[in-house]
């Protein structure tokens, strides 16, 4: 392994995903944690901003705590494509030697980050749910490393949580799941520095051409929902899912689902919560007819309040619930609807 530059004064960088002139939620969430990491390490937090017309987004980044924005603008970066984005990001990283670079585990981040890591021969940990700073002693060499990035992620279908470090293959890089870190708060009067970078790109650097594009239909917005009412296989039928929709309706919430409900065709995949679905952290999560397998819990255990309805008193979902109702959902949900109608 090439020993990359171990730059202990290096900055913490967040790859800022900007699609359609908007910064992706996952990038904003990364700024929150990036700020904490940078403070721990006493180094600046910087954003890497690539696109054709993105400099205007830098102000917004400063207001949420970013100290510096590396802005690479070029018409060939107008839409995300693996190859020119890799080239420019690698150039920027080589030039400035950040100690940490984090990316959203989005379809863009998961396409781009491994390509960059391979080019730099740097380590990369996928789909982290937590990042921390800590020290590490190599069990074999006994060498002690201070202030490493702990990259914490579920593996083995969510059955274990692994903490990964890369003591030497720097920069330390990770992709982070959407929805696991809080959104940052904007504050007025915070300023930052724009560092412009002129990418050296030629048309030949754009290798793939877009033939056609069908934007996703209005996505179910689970992440922004304050209240989620989720149904599982226990709901039984597509018709019966109406109960779930009705409860979500009176609460002004969004409808979620377990994978078993999706696999059975009771509801569309866009509603799936969990390890292979969306990770959510609403104020209230009501799990109905969901057994609470680890892969489901991985996506909802962070909700502020969890209510579980299940006829099996031993269902695993009760282990993460704040309120448990043991009963048949066909009786309980109508009671909930009428109780809320009465009170609210």
């Amino acid at each position: 392994m090439d020993k990359n530059v171990v730059n202990r004064k290096g900055e913490v960088w967040v790859f800022i995903e900007a699609v359609g002139g908007r910064i992706a939620d996952v990038s904003l969430e990364l700024v929150t944690r990036g700020r904490e990491l940078a403070d721990r390490l006493r180094v600046p937090l910087a954003g890497m901003l690539l696109g054709s017309d993105v400099e205007g987004l830098a102000e917004g980044l400063f207001s949420i705590g970013v100290d510096r924005a590396y802005v690479a603008q070029h018409e060939l970066l107008a839409r995300y494509e693996t190859h020119p984005y890799t080239k420019v990001a690698v150039d920027l990283i080589r030039r400035h030697n950040p100690q940490i670079v984090i990316y959203g585990a989005s379809s863009i981040g998961r396409d781009l980050a491994p390509r960059i890591a391979s080019t730099l021969k740097a380590g990369l940990t996928a789909d982290c749910t937590d990042l921390q700073i800590g020290s590490h002693t190599d069990p074999v060499t006994k060498e002690h490393y201070k202030h490493l990035l702990f990259q914490i992620r579920p593996a083995f279908g969510g059955n274990i949580i692994a903490t990964i470090v890369n003591p030497e293959g720097w920069p330390q890089m990770a992709t982070v799941r959407e929805g696991v870190m809080a959104m940052p708060e904007a504050r007025d009067g915070r300023a930052g520095e724009v560092v412009r970078f002129t990418p050296e790109l030629a048309p030949a650097d754009v290798i793939l051409s877009l033939v056609d594009e069908i934007p996703a239909e209005s996505k179910v917005n689970l992440k922004a929902a304050r209240v989620i009412v989720a149904g599982g296989a226990g709901v039984g039928s597509k018709d019966n899912f109406k109960l779930i929709y009705d409860l979500a309706g009176v609460l002004g919430g969004e409808v979620g689902a377990s994978r078993a409900a999706v696999d059975k065709g009771l509801i569309d995949k866009a509603h799936q919560v969990g390890q292979t679905g969306t990770t959510v952290r609403p104020a209230l999560y009501i799990a109905i007819g969901i057994s609470g397998q680890v892969q489901h819990r991985a996506g909802m255990a962070e909700a502020a309040k969890i209510v579980a309805v299940n006829k099996d008193p031993d269902a695993a979902i009760f282990g993460v619930a704040h309120y448990g109702i043991v009963g048949d959902l066909n009786d309980v949900v109508p009671m909930m609807i009428s109780a809320i109608r009465k009170r609210v």
């Binding site: 396409d111 391979s118 996928a126 059955n159 274990i160 692994a162 594009e213 695993a316 009170r343």
Partner: protein
Amino acid sequence: MPYNIVVLAKQVPDTKKITGKAMKDDGTVNRAALPAIFNPEDLYALELALSIKDAHGGSVTCLTMGPPPAAELLRDALYRGADRVALVTDRRAAASDTLATSYILSCAVRHAGPFDVVVCGRQAIDGDTAQVGPQLAEKLGIPQVTYVEAVKDLREGSITVRRSTDHGVEVLKGPLPILLTVTDKAHEPRYPAMKRVMKYKKAATAGEARSAGKQAPAGDLVIEEWNLDTIGADLQRCGMAGSPTKVKRIQAIVLAGSGHKEIRPDPEGIEGLVHELIEDHTIG
């Protein structure tokens, strides 16, 4: 025109079958307690490769890196239609992270010969990283398209594929050679063909034949077995030495079990719950 297609497939523990018994006391997974299966999305990758061959001719080579029992996966690939298979197996490859794995696989792909299309699954269900495909493409110095669902067109020198991302569906065109990573939204994998099962159940690696006390298989019953020297890999880039990431700690997931408030499933109980949620501003 015919194409040389290489499929990378991995044998993985069936993580769906994980129970308490499959966890060791130290929190690591006891792989031996789990059935080993063909990584689900790699079956879709193989299917995509076979469908290119069906439409245009050519050959499908399936490669895997793993311990000797991974030869089973290669027999399965033969049953389903692969023309040539090879197992990369070497103790020195153990503990490779995705960077080292992709390096070793890149040596194996080059060793297998000229290629037009390399196909990987999007991700393996043990590590769930989805990193090996893009890293392999970079090491081979070829473009990549991830999250592919279908090949729409293939003609001399170029390929058009459909992929789906967080933002919708895209149809992209790119030059050959290229690497694709395939999701389970692609065409359903075909089943092993009975005739091929009869023919290839005797296929084996030299190592398997030796331990069964049989003569090494010949002709197309050979499952090639390569080690890191065969494929010309630089040992510094393999295994532990080539892996920048290290596992510091593994924890088994246990239920939080913080204890919850039991609500009676009757109108009074539920009205009480709604009242509490309004009081603490969770709803209302």
